[in-house]
Symmetry: C2
Subunit: 474 residues, 2 copies
């Protein structure tokens, strides 16, 4: 790793402004009836407001409604014809999936996985309903794999196997919903603090759970603004604090400094029984343990919970994730449900039992060392992409502890869609995952430059066209 660290730290880029991009193409569809509202409108009353992270804005996207693939009408054809039609639909769909998988750059999903030996498991309805630690009477489950994976994470995050509780979730959002809920149950009067670049599920949780929340400004890097956090904590010192710490923000991959947050809590007089910290490590929570010199995210520090995604850095056919907290916190929020013969402190009742097997398989095959190598490769390739883009004058930013390369949003929408870039305002990003090879970066950069050239040439020609219109002589 030494050859790639330290990475350049938070290269300058204009502070992105959240704004509607382009004029929304409003169709005469249902969504066109959305009430227009000012962007970043004043917060609505918590009792009346939408439960999502952001208020409904002018940029309501209405131009890409999904087409439907209707359920075929079996009565219209004989059995053989029906089977043939199904096969055609599925085979066409697989081709599309392969094409889209090949051109994916924008989301932090590791699409490079091979679960061949697990294929036969799709014959079974595997459901880990209820608590992972206590078997329910439903026998077709994979709790033994789930506990194995949780213990693997317990070792990673340094918590004794007798002191933790956790489960394998459906996604990072579920882990965040759980972590914030546990925080609220531990500190029912607590105020939720999170930075404005936090994933929207955190503020969604605050709306769902009817919690007061404070959205804290961010630094240029995307980290939480520590001074503003300190000021808010001081102002609200009469009430406990529930703090979301980002271990890699969604857009810029910025890591909030946990140690600094803990120091601020100490400085402002919050004892450990008056704060609860949830670490949202959706992507980078899986990577940071393998990065030298990164601040440790560990239960040896007074944090309450961590959530990560399983389909991001690890890679999996289905979205999944892990949430882990301290057993002592769960005791207050769980209860036995005799019907399941199982205590249930999860958000969901039924839970996908295939997901733990995917994780178990990957961790077994790669081991900590294999994951460390994957992290190293991602950080190195992120650095390479940044250098390649800068060589051509594209403004970029790469946080020191991140494989998320942020750059100017490409202006051709078709290019954005082809490469499935996640955009916010005038920035886009590529999240370099283990499936992003150097060859793929070459292909991407080549096409990006061609796209930029097309846009520039078109604009230059437009200037000439405009001039020609004014110049009657020509």
């Amino acid at each position: 790793m030494d050859d790639i660290l330290p990475l350049a730290k938070a290269h300058k880029l204009p502070e992105p402004v959240l704004k509607p991009v382009g004029v929304p193409h409003v169709e005469d569809s249902a969504a066109s009836e959305h009430e227009p509202a000012e962007l970043e409108a004043a917060p609505l009353s918590p009792r009346l407001a939408a439960y999502q992270a952001l208020p409904v804005t002018k940029s309501t996207i209405t131009h890409n409604y999904t087409p439907a693939l209707a359920v075929l009408d079996a009565d219209d054809m004989d059995k053989e014809e029906l089977e043939a039609r199904i096969v055609t639909v599925i085979e066409d769909y697989k081709e599309k999936l392969q094409l889209r998988t090949d051109h994916h750059m924008g989301y932090p999903y590791n699409l490079d996985f091979d679960y061949g030996p697990l294929e036969g498991l799709q014959k079974y309805c595997i459901n880990n309903l209820g608590d992972p630690f206590i078997e329910s009477n439903y026998g077709v489950h994979s709790r033994e794999f789930e506990i194995g994976v949780l213990q693997w994470f317990a070792r990673l995050w340094e918590i004794d196997v007798d002191d933790f509780w956790g489960y394998i979730t459906n996604c990072g959002t579920e882990g965040n919903l759980h972590g914030i809920l546990v925080g609220r149950e531990v500190l029912p009067d607590g105020i939720l603090y999170a930075s404005r670049e936090t994933h929207y599920s955190i503020f969604k949780a605050a709306r769902m759970y009817r919690m007061d929340s404070e959205k804290i400004a961010t630094l240029e890097s995307g980290e939480i603004d520590y001074d503003e956090l300190r000021a808010q904590l001081t102002a609200n010192c009469a009430r406990p604090a529930i703090i979301n710490v980002n271990i890699g923000t969604t857009v810029k991959g910025a890591v909030d400094d946990l140690d600094r947050v803990l120091q601020i809590l100490k400085d402002t007089g919050y004892n450990e029984d008056r704060f609860y910290i949830h670490c949202d490590g959706a992507l980078f929570g899986m990577m940071i343990p393998f990065v030298k010199r990164a601040p440790m995210v560990t239960f040896k520090k007074p944090i309450g919970s961590i959530s990560v995604s399983g389909h991001k850095f690890v890679g999996s056919p289905v979205p999944c994730g892990v949430v882990m907290t301290r057993l002592k916190h769960i005791k207050g929020v769980s209860s036995d449900v005799e019907y399941l013969n199982s205590r249930d402190a999860t958000i969901m009742g039924s839970r996908n039992g295939h997901a733990p097997i995917y994780m178990w398989y990957t961790f077994t095959r790669k081991g900590y060392e294999g994951l460390r190598k994957d992290v190293e490769k991602c950080l190195r390739n992120a650095h390479l992409l940044k250098s390649m883009l800068e060589r051509a004058g594209v403004k970029t930013m790469l946080n020191e502890l991140s494989s998320t390369v942020v750059f100017e949003r490409p202006r051709e929408e078709a290019f954005v869609r082809k490469w499935q870039l996640a955009c916010e305002g005038d920035i886009a990003h590529v999240v370099v995952m283990p499936n992003i090879t150097i060859r793929k970066l070459e292909h991407f950069v080549q096409e990006l430059f061609e796209s930029r050239t097309r846009v520039s040439v078109a604009e230059a020609m437009q200037l000439a066209e405009d001039a020609r219109a004014l110049d009657d002589d020509e």
Copy 2:
């Protein structure tokens, strides 16, 4: 269907009492530290209470902690050895899954499915993140299948394709969490009403969302006590009502009478803008449209939302479900999240894109007619099981519109676990799904009778043993 309807209506069975079964085997593990609490304890303050349906009870189950299957340590062996070990683990596990699938009777899961042609899809990370109707930039999704399935349900539940909104969930609980949340957003000051035999996820939602709730008594059949509902609605008439209507309760398969609930709302002066009805149709919501003479659950009546499970009657390798509501309700609660290029009114962010394909495939292959036949078969076999059990003097109950056969809880715990029966208090049930054949019923009943005989003989012999101890002469 005529030959099987009408089924016997709500045969008498002692009203089950929720009570701890046996003395919990408390191990010196973490769970043993659970505070003992009275069963059905007085509701705690909503701000301090657990968020689950039931308070923590004395019956804390601690005797069946799941064993862990540790992630193998790849550093300890060479690659070939590791691969061989993995194959062994997975093959052993598949055998266990098959055995458990063969002996499953208790949960309402249709384990009879064959998704052979879909097998290659596990190579792809299919994620329908965000709103199903609006494509996100992430291209590896299955929204076209999802919309097709939703439109199939819209036809089933009689709502115009322009008027509904919905999505494919991770399970019935997610559908319930969504329905109740929409209800709360529409009527922020509403009180939640649900019967005491309602699935625990509904009261879990009330705790999560900080809503006031009223638990209504039930009739012997398991239906909501209409008189008590009327009295509660009258008493609380100053505040709007959010009512959960069970389309098949979890334990007894009881169907709350939607028309009667609507009449009570009318009688007690609740106009349509002052109530919101969520229909929890986890299992039976998929079956009721195919049952002659069943009351219709339809959006032509003033209901707000319906949720059903996909892994229950339909059958699927992963838990899944559908929630559907009126588009007008969603407009208030959704917002665009530019990062996803997608509005998100779902509970989860990332969503399993394989689930919609399973449903699309089943609906296409079976058609409405195939599903009708499955329902007919289930109701007929439920009736058969009831008759077989009664012939041997086992007390049973079968609601008219249900395939859930309720009977005395078998007293041998090993039998309960072998057949994976879901139990509550002194009752157990078998949910007759399409995979429960007559042959399987024969096998089950045979073993049940053998189990009962063993228990009776053991008790009789114990009497003799006790008598012998008192009779010194022998």
